[in-house]
């Protein structure tokens, strides 16, 4: 595997003026990214998550050449984004979920044509790419509508197409599913998975929607206060931080909370009870045996923690 993105001890400080007292203002240095080292290989699909202000967008901006790091070195497809911004720009695609890059007042198709000139994509190459992405993203029905008339979901699909028309090796997405409904989200995810799998595009995406990460990403990098606090697969993270399981039992009749050693009843809803336990302390079989010994059980299931819980735990413990 070859690294397409390498960050070596990268930091980014911002100087901000903060109000102090009524008139005085004080210069403060904010370490938005603080000594991050990271290596992403060709073809990876990495979720980059962290609470608000963790430094996600700042990292992406350094990887695109928008911002220059305060210290450390960044290499993207072997280039230094600080000095080779223009050259790098042709090799990467960027989508900012908050803001479209399409020409607001023109039909969607015109934006694509303009980008062909901006990125100097050969005409036949452009045509082939456009046809493929228009099909995959189902853009045909609104290809000739002005961008300002598109729904958020349609516009995001347009932005995705726009970011990929010049065959970038890497796609950065900063909150690509923000504001989208469930159906649009699913569609965007499916498309990203496909682009990653079929075209080998390396993808780095930030999101606050953890189901994006769970469905999509092979690897999860969690940052907080500018530090990487976890880097691993989704499954690894779940096992490390998601040691708990919950047994959900439906009893024949409603009764008092069950008493099971090593497990704790966290919720009771009529005949249904939720018992949480740590796998390192008791096994599911032991918990179930104890339950069955106390009451008549009609139905039973074991729940894994969802990623939301896991990440909340990481944020609060990190």
């Amino acid at each position: 595997m070859t690294a397409v993105i390498e960050l070596d001890r990268v930091s980014k400080d911002f100087v901000v003026m903060r109000k102090k007292g009524r008139l005085r203002r004080e210069r403060m240095t904010v370490a938005a990214v603080d000594d991050i080292s990271l290596r992403i290989d060709t073809g990876e699909l990495v979720g980059y998550i962290g609470p608000n202000g963790a430094g996600k967008s700042t990292t992406i901006k350094m990887l695109t050449g928008i911002l220059v790091p305060s210290s450390g070195t960044v290499r993207v497809v072997g280039l230094d984004p600080q000095r080779r911004r223009v050259e790098l720009a042709s090799r990467i695609g960027v989508v900012f979920g908050q803001r479209t890059q399409l020409w607001w007042d023109l039909p969607l198709i015109d934006s694509f044509d303009l980008l062909r000139h901006v990125y100097r994509v050969p005409a036949d190459r452009h045509r082939a790419n456009l046809r493929r992405f228009v099909d995959l993203l189902e853009l045909e029905p609104f290809l000739h509508s002005p961008v300002r008339q598109l729904s958020l979901g349609q516009r995001m699909r347009g932005d995705l197409c726009a970011a990929l028309l010049h065959d970038p090796a890497i796609l950065y997405l900063d909150e690509p599913t923000i504001g989208l409904d469930v159906v649009s989200k699913a569609r965007v995810r499916e498309f990203l998975a496909q682009v990653n799998r079929d075209e080998g595009v390396t993808i780095l995406l930030t999101t606050h929607d953890l189901s994006d990460v769970e469905r999509l990403c092979s690897r999860l990098v969690v940052i907080d206060h500018g530090h990487v606090i976890h880097d691993g697969t989704v499954a690894e993270i779940k096992t490390m931080f998601g040691d708990t399981r919950t047994v959900v039992v439906d009893l024949e009749e409603a009764g008092p909370s069950l008493v099971v050693p090593g497990a704790e009843v966290v919720e009771v809803d009529g005949p249904r009870q939720w018992l949480r336990f740590r796998r390192s302390e008791v096994t599911a079989a032991e918990v179930i045996a104890a339950v069955v010994g106390q009451a008549r059980v009609r139905d039973l299931s074991i729940e894994e923690p969802d990623i939301e819980d896991v990440v909340t735990r990481i944020y609060t413990s990190g």
């Binding site: 911002f14 700042t58 928008i66 220059v68 720009a89 042709s90 890059q101 607001w104 015109d110 303009l114």
Partner: protein
Amino acid sequence: MAELATTLHLYRVLAVAKVRADWQYRSQFLLYMTTQFFITFLDFLQIAVIFGAVDSLAGWSLLEVVFLYATSGMAFYLGDAFISQVERVGGYIKAGTFDALLIRPAGTLVQICANDFAFRRLGKLLQASIVMVIVLARLDVEWTPGRLVVFALMIPSGTVIFSSIWVIGASITFWTVDSGELANTFTYGGNFATQYPLDILGTWLRRFLTLVVPTAFVNYFPALYVLGKPDPFGAPGWVRFISPLVALTMAVAARAAWTGAVRHYRSTGS
């Protein structure tokens, strides 16, 4: 050279797109263009009014002053049409859209100027060009090859000088987002000052417009040569010929200012 051709091509493509987008609001567009066309005549009218009261202005005849007006106007409105959009950069920074320019494989300056190109601004340029044609037809000048060359270089040099002032002004905006007004003083003020012979201005202002914000090189000095007039202040003769050099120097300064400004943005993110 290839880089220049690419840049110009990109400018044209983006500007045409903007014109097409604006065309959807064409009634506003035509109204603006027509009003601008006539409003620009007001400046011109002012000159006529002055000459209704006096026969000459510091030794300059009506036609000669109109010549200054037309050269200044063409240079200024060319800059106004193609480069002045750069003064909007403060808005880009505030809205965070400057980032979007930096992720494209192209210069930021050409993108801003082309993205905000407004065809309607050409109305003013048209007015200045018409005045130029009229004044050239009536002006009593013996067109030696030397005068033709100096005249031919006046408008390109003037355009570059005004444009550079716009770019430098916009570069300053990166440090103090609300300094747009200051830059306007130099560009619009410079345009106004170059509509009249420098002779009527006070010494300090004259020096300022020669040495600091060198709009005197847009038309005054080369016009002395083209119209065969003596320099009332006894500046050396070669001063009349250096407008292209001044323009080049200004362009280099503008490029440096812009590069510095973008570097500042890329390190502070604002």
